[in-house]
Every structure is written in structure tokens, then in C-alpha cells.
């Protein structure tokens, strides 16, 4: 079953074609890496998938809903974590969890129970009523991820979730991603780190608004005859005509 299906999706801003007829699909439970240099159009594409932007043409379905006409339904079935840290610093951990839970209409009772489970999983039980700003960045990031998936969405969109986090925490973060994907959650992730691309089941690389390559990391390395994803990315990026 496919969690995301996209066909000739296009977004133009004036005469500028930010996303140029892209087509792909993501299967359920997959960790899908969405790569591209700055300005390649990956954020625009992702915003369309999340129902934040209307596509100029083309079609797409996310969690079975049309991205053009059913964006409100889509919003209920996805989780979203932005590249900037997206919890409220001057609310406590509990308040943050409760607030985001409230946005998705999780019943109060369930939410209370979930909150306790969540902080226990993260080992933050003793910090539940501390302000989020007192946490180190790595912890905040993990918490943000947990919060983004607490309403059990079908797909979670992560927009450069590991920016500015140290390698060990990043590793732990990816373990978390794997665990949730294992439970049937589809993960759609953009990243700048090429070593992270290796963790993905499949990777698409955008260049100039188009998808220039899409395959498993191993296949990509074979096709482009390099030893790691970084090589693949460099070879593709060289073709880019667009500059920032």
C-alpha cells in the first residue's frame, strides 16, 4: 500500500518553477529520504504534501486524501516537525505535549496517559514540569519528534530534523525513527547530512525542481559509481543550473 502517491506535481511562483512535474510514491512503513540542495524545491514540495500549499498543477494523494481538495483531512493524518525547533520554550514539557495533543483532538484522558508514557520512554519523567528551554537541544529534538507522532499519524514529515545536533544524538534520533517506522509509520524526511541518507530505505534527490534520482542508497551508489551518498549528491549537484 502506498502512503504517498504524487503525479506530475508542479508549483510555480510567477514564472519561477519551484517544483517541476515530480512523480513518485512512498510505501507504507518506509523511511523515505528527500534530498536536494538549498533552493532545489524540496521544502516547497513538502509543504504541498502537508497541505500548506496548493499545487499549481498535477495531483497527489497523502494517506489516501487528495492534496488539492482534502488538505484539511490530510492535516489530521500526518505529523509535522519543522526544521526550526518547534516546541514552546516557555511552556513545560507536559504543557507542550498537552498543547499539541489538544490540536489533534486527542481525548483528555488518553492524552494524560500518553504524556506519562511519552516522558517515561524518553527518560524525562523527572523533568515533566520543567520549562522546555532548560533541555539540551538533542533532547528537545527527540521530544519534538515524539510530540509530532503522539496522535499516531500515518505519515510523519520531518523537515531537516537533525540540524545542529551532535552525531551521537543524531544516531539515537535515527534509532527512534527506525523504531517508529517498524511499527508501520511512514517517515518522510529531508536532510542535509549525507550519512543520514544512508539510513533511509529509499532516497530521492531533487535538482532544479525535478527529481534527478530515486532509488535505494546502494543502487544509487552503484549507478553513480561512488562509495557513498555524498559522492552521488556531488555528481548530481554539479548538474544544477539554478543558483540560490
Amino acid at each position: 500500500m502506498n502512503a504517498i502517491v504524487v503525479n506530475n506535481l508542479t508549483k510555480t511562483f510567477g514564472s519561477f518553477m519551484a517544483v517541476d512535474h515530480i512523480s513518485f510514491h512512498v510505501t507504507k512503513g518506509e523511511v523515505f529520504g528527500f534530498l536536494g540542495a538549498n533552493g532545489a524545491g524540496k521544502t516547497t514540495a513538502m509543504r504541498m504534501l502537508c497541505g500548506l500549499l496548493k499545487p499549481s498543477s498535477g495531483e497527489g494523494r497523502v494517506a489516501g486524501f487528495n492534496i488539492d481538495t482534502e488538505s484539511e483531512e490530510i492535516k489530521k493524518h500526518i505529523g509535522y516537525m519543522s526544521q526550526k525547533f518547534s516546541l514552546y520554550n516557555n511552556l513545560t514539557i507536559r504543557e507542550n505535549i498537552r498543547f499539541y495533543g489538544g490540536l489533534y483532538d486527542i481525548p483528555k484522558k488518553e492524552l494524560k496517559q500518553k504524556t506519562d508514557e511519552l516522558v517515561e520512554q524518553l527518560g524525562l519523567t523527572s523533568y515533566t514540569d520543567k520549562l522546555v528551554q532548560s533541555l539540551p537541544l538533542g533532547w528537545k529534538q527527540k521530544l519534538a519528534f515524539s510530540v509530532a507522532i503522539q496522535h499516531s499519524p500515518e505519515i510523519v514529515f520531518l523537515d531537516e530534523p537533525t540540524g545542529g545536533v551532535d552525531p551521537i544524538t543524531r544516531r539515537q534520533f535515527w534509532d527512534m525513527i527506525y523504531e517508529t517506522a517498524h511499527n508501520g509509520l511512514t517517515v518522510f524526511v529531508t536532510t542535509h547530512y549525507m550519512d543520514e541518507a544512508e539510513y533511509c530505505h529509499r532516497v530521492s534527490i531533487m535538482v532544479d525542481g525535478k527529481i534527478a534520482a530515486l532509488d535505494t542508497p546502494n543502487e544509487l551508489k552503484k549507478i553513480f559509481e561512488t562509495e557513498n551518498m555524498d559522492g552521488v549528491f556531488r555528481k548530481l549537484a554539479r548538474r544544477a543550473k539554478r543558483n540560490e
Binding site: C50, L53, M81, K84, L87, Y100, L103
Partner: protein, 362 residues
């Protein structure tokens, strides 16, 4: 959602303190320090006459609460020096032959030299001093019957003692509401954009309008509390009465706060940076509010283009309303025009803001 916004506002204690302390400070400052009334003006008398009449005159000034004679000197050559040193605001020159002149020519000329580097004070002070001389003249006249005279009887309606608090309490109220409503709201929304949390909120099922409205509610409440603080202060500390209906005043205030919130929303949808939002509110709203509300500078004296501009500044209308209710004690029948204008402004602004907000999301 609304609860969370309240918590945000309450957690940010520094700005909360600022918001609540500011009106108190402004009211007290205006109330006691920046009064338009001039008391204990320092004056210097140049007494060329040194006779009975000049003594009587000096005596009168000494007894007057508005003046304090700091020196009596023989000639005015030092006048310039005195002003430069800022020792006095006014110099009174009594001519040498004042007694003779009055007796034989039935007139004498007393000179008042005022430091007009502060024109308002200079004008007020000279008027006061003039009044002292007129009083004396009237006493001299008391014996002589004038062939005919026109007596001017002044009646200062609504504020007979010309207490300046009557003027600035509505002014400060207007300004504070503007700051709270427009600036704080726009900054709060833009802050969310800057943090990146706005995107997450937008990606959630909650409606964008709901996000914005819940931002506005705590500030509406805060603005309302501030308003009540100001009113309490002005009634009990500054003795400015609320002559009209308190209910009407509060209702009009909610209308005005809505106007400012709409303005704040409009600002927030046109920028993504807190500092820009702050700057726009300050330059784009605060200054026009200050200048065109009629609080500091009378609108009647402005050239036509500026007068026209003043009509689109919401503060002007609210200021008129507050003055009408508080000071004049008028009811809705005399301020329906202002109310209607404010209401229209609010609707139009909200409309534009919502439209812009939606476009911005695309």
C-alpha cells in the same frame, strides 16, 4: 489554544511587568511632572522705581503661588545673562517714573521679558503676570468710574479649573491601548513565525483563523485590565471624574481594542521578523497616533493635508470618544459618528488582514 496563549503572556514576566507598569508610570508622570500648569515660576524683577507702587507690585508677586521672585536687580543689563544661565523664566521691568506716569498721564508701561525658548510656558507665564497687573489696575480704578466698559466673563465648560489631567488621561489611555493592541499582538504572532512553530500549527488540523484569534484574546484581556487600572488611577489619584456612563466607555474601548488588534494582525501578516513588526508599529502607528490624535497637538491648527490624514488615524476618534464620555459626560447620541467610524475601520482592517493572512499562507 487560548489557554496556551495566556500562559505565554504570563510566563514572559518581563514584558508583562512592562505592560502593566507602563500605564501606571505614564499616568503618574503626566499627572505630576508634565503638567501644563505652571507653578512657582522663577522671576526676576528689575525695579527702576523703588517707590511705593513698585513695592506693592513686588509684594503681589511674592504672594502669588504661581511666581517666586528670586532676585530684585537695579537694571536689565543682566537680563540676557540670566536667561542664558536659565535662572529665571520671566523678567519684569518696572520703569523709574511709574508713580509719576500713573498720576499725570494716567498710564504707564511695564515690560515683561519672557524666555520664549519654551513658547508654551512663556505664553502662559506672561498671561499670568499680565493678570497680576490687571488686578492692581482694577483696584486703582475702583475709585474712578469708567464711562463704559465691556466685562469679559469666562466660563470654561467641562473643566473650569483647566486641569491638564482631563486632557492627558484620555490621551494616555488611547496610546496605551494602541501599543498593547497593535504592537504586542503583531509581535506575538510574528514571534511564532520566527520560532517556526507557526508552520507546525498550520500543518495541524486547527484552522488558521483560530490560531490568530487565540493570539488576540489574551491581549484583549490584558488591554482591558490595563484600561481599568488607568481608570482607577485617574479617578482616585488624579481626581479625573468619569462623568458619562462607565459601561459605554468600556464598550467603546473594546471596539477600539478590536481596531488595534486588527491593525496588529495586518502588520504581522506583512512581515516575518519581530524587529520589523516592532518597527512598523512604532513608526507607522505610535507616531501618527501621538501626532494626529489631537492629544498633544490640536488638529484644528494643522494644514489641510495633515487634517485629512488625521481622519484615518483611529486614535483620533477613540480619543474624542473617551473625552466626550469621561470629561463631558456625554452619551452615545453625541458620539455615534465616531463609533460608527471606528466600527467601519475595524471591519475593513480585519477584512484586509484576514485576506492578507490567507494569501500569505499560499
Amino acid at each position: 489554544m487560548v489557554i496556551k496563549e495566556f500562559k505565554h503572556v504570563l510566563r514572559d514576566q518581563r514584558s508583562l511587568f512592562f505592560l502593566l507598569a507602563q500605564p501606571v508610570m505614564m499616568i503618574l508622570l503626566f499627572g505630576f511632572a508634565l503638567s501644563n500648569e505652571v507653578k512657582e515660576t522663577k522671576i526676576i524683577v528689575v525695579d527702576h522705581a523703588r517707590d511705593e507702587i513698585s513695592k506693592t507690585l513686588i509684594n503681589r508677586f511674592e504672594q502669588n503661588v504661581y511666581f517666586r521672585i528670586i532676585d530684585i536687580v537695579p537694571d536689565e543689563s543682566m537680563a540676557d545673562d540670566i536667561f542664558k544661565k536659565g535662572l529665571a523664566k520671566l523678567i519684569i521691568v518696572i520703569p523709574a517714573n511709574i508713580a509719576d506716569d500713573i498720576k499725570h498721564q494716567y498710564k504707564s508701561i511695564v515690560q515683561l521679558i519672557a524666555d520664549a525658548s519654551d513658547p508654551n510656558t512663556a505664553a502662559i507665564v506672561s498671561t499670568y503676570a499680565g493678570a497680576v497687573f490687571r488686578d492692581y489696575q482694577n483696584e486703582l480704578l475702583g475709585l474712578v468710574k469708567m464711562p463704559y466698559e465691556i466685562k469679559v466673563e469666562q466660563r470654561m465648560l467641562y473643566n473650569p479649573q483647566l486641569i491638564s489631567a482631563y486632557n492627558f488621561v484620555p490621551g494616555v489611555l488611547t496610546l496605551i491601548m494602541m501599543i498593547l493592541g497593535a504592537m504586542m499582538t503583531s509581535v506575538a504572532i510574528v514571534r511564532e513565525k520566527e520560532l517556526g512553530t507557526m508552520e507546525v500549527l498550520l500543518a495541524s488540523p486547527i484552522h488558521p483563523l483560530q490560531i490568530v484569534l487565540s493570539k488576540a484574546v489574551p491581549y484583549l484581556a490584558l488591554a482591558f485590565i490595563t484600561e481599568i487600572i488607568i481608570l482607577i488611577l485617574s479617578v482616585f489619584v488624579l481626581n479625573v471624574p468619569i462623568r458619562g456612563s462607565l459601561f459605554l466607555l468600556l464598550a467603546e474601548s473594546i471596539l477600539f481594542i478590536s481596531t488595534t488588534l486588527a491593525l496588529g494582525l495586518l502588520i504581522s501578516s506583512s512581515t516575518n521578523q519581530q524587529q520589523v513588526a516592532m518597527f512598523i508599529s512604532l513608526v507607522g502607528l505610535m507616531l501618527p497616533s501621538l501626532i494626529f490624535s489631537g492629544f498633544m497637538f490640536p488638529i484644528e491648527n494643522m494644514p489641510l493635508p495633515l487634517k485629512t490624514i488625521s481622519n484615518i488615524v483611529p486614535t483620533k476618534w477613540y480619543y474624542n470618544i473617551v473625552r466626550a464620555i469621561m470629561v463631558k459626560g456625554l452619551g452615545i447620541e453625541s458620539i455615534w459618528k465616531e463609533t460608527l467610524i471606528l466600527a467601519t475601520m475595524t471591519l475593513v482592517l480585519t477584512g484586509i488582514a484576514i485576506k492578507k493572512f490567507k494569501v500569505h499562507l499560499e
